[in-house]
Symmetry: C2
Subunit: 126 residues, 2 copies
Amino acid sequence: MSNTTKVLPLLEPEVPETVVPCCPPLTERPFTAEEAETAARMFKALGDPVRLRLFSAVASHEGGEACVCDISDVGVSQPTVSHHLKKLKDAGLLTSERRGTWVYYRVEPSVLAAMGKLLTVAPSAA
Amino acid sequence: MSNTTKVLPLLEPEVPETVVPCCPPLTERPFTAEEAETAARMFKALGDPVRLRLFSAVASHEGGEACVCDISDVGVSQPTVSHHLKKLKDAGLLTSERRGTWVYYRVEPSVLAAMGKLLTVAPSAA
């Protein structure tokens, strides 16, 4: 047996460029054009029924992450699933990490929380 | 002066057909196709920067409602503003009521709260 041990590099999850939180609650003050661009990108990503099903399949999966093999049960082809998962990643809603054969997708709780915060009702507007 | 008093009929806000809350938190379990259709419609309505600015302008306006005259400052034409407000109404995010010359738009806090709930992190997924 060799004395040299090989340390496998830890795979860092890819961090999307679109960083949330971006914006105050929608009820706090009118959004600026820039805030609206960022937040609209996230809402648009969830504005498709197939993407929303994939997103909730990942979000509700054990441990908050899922392999493509776990979540392809939405009645569309595998390339379509991959296409939609890429859109969710581009919007900053999912991160992915390859482990062996499979790519695992994960919902960042902070992203969900930030989007939820957008939709809170500010005290002044209640 | 006449003794007969004219009672103006109260205008009921139009209630959209798309009723929320529709769905459990996205992290609770995979959405069904039907749930995804309903929720995606709401997210899609917010997935456009101009609509999002109009929506936040209404949501953050004094008293939670605004006249078109209050919120047209988003750099698009009046017909475009009307078009986007109609889309927000169709998605069940705004209600409207005509009072005199103007149509007033209002965000239903229950709709905002329901959308916010979709994005809460379920304890099992945290």
